[in-house]
């Protein structure tokens, strides 16, 4: 099951055009923080001098992307008087090895480490999460944990809420090719606490050659199951409902 090859989908033009349309002339300098396992993870800080609040907007990119693609949004937030941070989720951009992480749920701890780092300057700092696509789906993992309590609100931009949900269109299959037999094989092993195989790629994204420099085209099992939402619609809906109730 694990040996079956992962098929790479044909590049999607609208994804490639969108990725290349980013204006990189207004990037701020790259900042880093050290996660608990010693690896340095990357973010960019868009500070607004007009912002007198103690709130920071954390922007999380979507599947296969990286922080550069959030530049326009971050600049616009800063220009309107709001302070924003965009980060490269581990396994993307300048954060760690592209396409893989060390273990499932490591991203939750990275988030915790980032918030601790940001609160060094202001312990009362509050956060708002803006998550795009898979980055929006990621919130279902963290919203119900202690680290989720650090956020005042979650603003989700076309969140990916699972592969077989009413909100996922048929085109998702053109965007991402999944090696289901491999996922099933690794999941069965994981039930017996066998982590062998979790570093293998299980999903490939339809990126073109021109965007290779910016994107992450393959995800390992452990990255996919850490960054994505629960692969169970009921569980996702429950997390959404709990969060909505909390923030009402």
């Amino acid at each position: 099951m694990l040996a079956l090859p992962l098929r790479r989908p044909q590049p999607l033009d609208f994804i490639e055009q969108g990725a290349l349309a980013v204006d990189q002339s207004r990037l701020t300098s790259l900042s880093t923080f050290q996660a608990r396992n010693g690896i340095w993870l990357a973010y960019r800080y868009y500070h607004s001098t007009q912002d007198e609040s103690n709130k920071t907007i954390l922007i999380v990119h979507g599947s296969s992307a990286q922080l550069i693609q959030m530049t326009e949004l971050a600049n616009a937030l800063a220009a309107s008087g709001l302070t924003a941070i965009v980060l490269d989720i581990r396994g993307h951009g300048a954060s760690g090895q592209r396409g893989d992480i060390a273990y499932i749920r490591q991203l939750n701890y990275d988030f915790e480490d980032l918030l601790i780092e940001l609160r060094r300057t202001d312990p009362n700092q509050k956060f708002i999460l803006v998550g795009t696509s898979l980055g929006g789906g990621f919130f279902t993992h963290i919203s119900t944990t202690a680290v989720g309590q650090a956020f005042e609100r979650f603003i989700l931009l076309a969140p990916f809420l699972g592969p077989s949900t009413p909100t996922s269109g048929a085109s998702n299959k053109a965007w991402a090719s999944v090696n289901l037999p491999r996922i099933i094989g690794i999941t069965i092993r994981s039930q017996f606490k066998v982590t062998l195989g979790q570093s293998l790629p299980v999903i490939a994204f339809a990126n073109g050659a021109k965007t290779k420099r910016y994107v992450t085209s393959l995800y390992s099992y452990r990255l996919l199951f850490s960054f994505g939402p629960y692969f169970n619609w009921k569980k996702t809906i429950t997390a959404l409902a709990q969060s909505a109730k909390k923030y009402l």
Partner: protein
């Protein structure tokens, strides 16, 4: 929740249909596609407006009640 009406990957109508019963506000933006959500001027304006709504004082703006290193989170580590 904000989505573009011309999203190629997501079914934007379904967000409203599936999530309105959970009191989640859904805003669908015309003429915005999947990639446009973080580039298109209308999308950026809508995101800023949504963020600022919170700044003007929605309920539950109190700081987190538990430490980031709280017990439930530590349990995840095991």
């Amino acid at each position: 929740m904000i989505a573009g009406q011309d999203d190629e990957l997501m079914v934007s109508d379904a967000y409203e249909r599936e999530l309105k019963s959970f009191w989640i506000g859904v805003k669908i933006l015309p003429k915005v596609n999947y990639m446009g959500l973080v580039h298109h001027q209308d999308a950026i304006t809508a995101i800023i407006a949504t963020v600022k709504q919170g700044y003007s004082g929605t309920p539950n703006l109190s700081p987190p009640s538990t430490s980031l290193h709280s017990a439930p989170f530590d349990r995840l580590r095991d």
